[in-house]
Symmetry: C2
Subunit: 381 residues, 2 copies
């Protein structure tokens, strides 16, 4: 079956039109789609960016689930905000977890990760945490976009929220086919109506007010180790993000735990953000030195720890803990195997009918490279 | 005139044979050579690495001047040294300045930079500092390889030596056409004989002894802000380098003064070296934290300074000071102009018949990028 034959969506509109593509552009795109399956659902997804279609876009049965758009960032608030906005903006919290889109397809509520994969663990979790069926009865053509946060999840490790295991926070409701968002206040009311927890709203500001208000918001979030803010026009159409030093340095610490696996560009961008923030926040010499020290620690400490771990003969990997019914944990492990990941189990025990599993995703390059350099391999650079 | 026609060197051997290349490989190489001229000397040089011929190789008249080879590096001494060496090695200081090869061609002593350009300032300087004519009377087919160190030079800024203006330190004497080195002790005697100052020799060691001895040497150099060590077999054929934290962090501070002009790989490699050194030197928690703090300062402080400078409306650039006879300074400025560099003069005054010039080489990307981000330009990454 080719996608061109699958052809028509509910509205009778060809898929390529729904995606805003010519028939030819859609055919070109098809080469970059990956086939996948979740239970009875066969789907194709776009795991990386293409010109005009968002990363993570999914074609499932007759339905298109748009990828979540990449949100632009400013490096300075005081010029970035007025450059980007001329009308009132909502300032909400940007959460540190993983991005998920929830949609109901052929009667089943499914949770898609950023790259467009149905995650069995997340699908189970959102079904059990949220009144998803009532929500989709009312909003059948929407996707509910949010962040999964908390320490017990298979993808991220931030533990700065008052969440014991895992929780969902909505930050968008979008037309699943076109990607157009509900206006901010309508979205917040819709979530409120169905008891769906949301990212915090810090306020609605004129751009000039936001320039004054946001630095203090960012500093407060930073002091709690939280990630940052999302600013957007009230129609939800234009967005801008800005992150705390805690987020920048947390990312750097993660990257330098696996220095040969994480991009140099990834690290460089975060270093640059620290420089601009230090200048914009008008730090004293002592404050700047403190930031520098903490920045240095976020690079050297995890890197040296990883080198020492590998030197001692162990292998390093990304450790995560998840808690769910045994069948859900099984499905998650099977899902990772299908994706080609190698998982090592560090701990596995039953807790009140659930299974509490701590596992490591194996990474390759850092283990191999560090091993080689510790063995005296020379560098020709 | 094509190089193939220039054809024969003194020995009557075709150029491609001297370079160890087939006629075809030599023709391919010719496409990567740049034409240049110094006074009456026309020459061609290879400014970047090619497969089998060293970067910086020069074809001048009938003569080949080999590029100085890239020296491999180890990230840990205790495995790197025995991996690389099975016989006695000389351990000498690796100096922080700029690499220069001095050769006599058609009766003129010329100084070539790493990339193979005749630098008029350096040519003048080595002629006035060293007994070059006596040296080349005795060693006509050799090139004298060394580091130009000291605060007053047009390329580097390290000021960790007891040198007021500029000085030369020999670290190699090589056959200029074949690149083969004199044995270490012969080279040191030859320099001694002609009063040519040399890189310090810390000792000659069996590999196992060197593993024990080198960490203390590196620590001493580090405490003085010096760069590192070069280890080599006594025949000079096999070399290995290792650098201090001061050198790694100094390079990072330089790179983050111009963060958008200097490679991310350049920075990443130096961060990695710090991680391995911290582990190999078995640092206490407090020592590692100190290294981390100093590392963080080497990144953030120069970057924030540059952003603030650009924010204030100034342009940043690489500042250097040189001191020489007025005609030599003129020749240097003319040389930079020919290379397409834009030079801003910060200070220019006569001192005891010499001209003392402080200038800045303009850099573009960091100025432009920082300006744009300060103006609120958004980042889509």
């Amino acid at each position: 079956m080719t996608l061109m034959c699958a052809g028509l969506v509910d509205s009778g509109m060809p898929l390529h039109d729904t995606l805003g593509l010519s028939r030819e552009a859609f055919e070109e795109l098809s080469d970059h789609l990956y086939d996948n399956r979740y239970n009875s659902h066969e789907y194709r997804h776009l795991p990386s960016y293409r010109k005009s279609v968002e990363k993570g876009t999914v074609l499932i049965g007759e339905t298109v689930i748009r990828g979540f758009p990449k949100i632009p960032r400013c490096l300075v608030l005081d010029e970035g905000i007025p450059q980007q906005f001329t009308t009132k903006i909502a300032v909400e919290e940007k959460l540190n977890g993983y991005n998920v889109r929830v949609a109901r397809v052929d009667g089943d509520v499914l949770a898609f990760t950023r790259s467009g994969i149905v995650c069995p663990f997340t699908t189970h979790t959102v079904r059990s945490l949220l009144n998803v069926d009532r929500f989709f009865d009312r909003h059948p053509d929407q996707m509910l976009c949010g962040e999964m946060i908390g320490p017990e999840n298979p993808y991220t490790t931030a533990d700065c929220y008052d969440v014991d295991s895992i929780a969902f926070r909505a930050f968008d409701i979008r037309d699943r086919e076109r990607g157009t968002p509900l206006p901010v206040m309508d979205r917040r009311e819709a979530c409120e109506a169905f008891g769906i927890p949301q990212a915090e709203l810090f306020g609605v500001f004129e751009p000039a007010e936001a320039v004054d208000a946001t630095p203090a918001i960012v500093r407060d979030l930073d002091s709690e180790g939280r990630e940052g803010i999302i600013m957007q026009t009230l129609d939800g159409q234009q967005l801008l993000k800005y992150t705390t030093s805690a987020a920048n340095q947390g990312d750097l610490a993660f990257a330098f735990t696996f220095p040969f696996d994480y991009g140099r560009d990834f690290s460089f961008r975060r270093l640059i953000r620290e420089g601009f923030q230090s200048v914009e926040f008008d730090e004293s010499a002592a404050e700047r030195r403190d930031r520098a020290h903490s920045l240095g620690e976020s690079l050297l400490m995890p890197m040296a720890d990883s080198i020492e771990t590998i030197e001692s003969g162990e292998r390093i990997g990304e450790q995560h803990t998840v808690r769910a019914e045994p069948r859900v944990i099984d499905a998650l492990l099977e899902h990772f195997r299908e994706q080609g990941l190698t998982i090592d189990i560090d701990a596995d025990r039953p807790v009140e009918g659930d299974r509490l599993l701590t596992f490591r995703k194996r990474i390759q390059r850092t283990n191999d490279k560090v091993d080689a350099y510790l063995d005296g391999t020379i560098v020709r650079e």
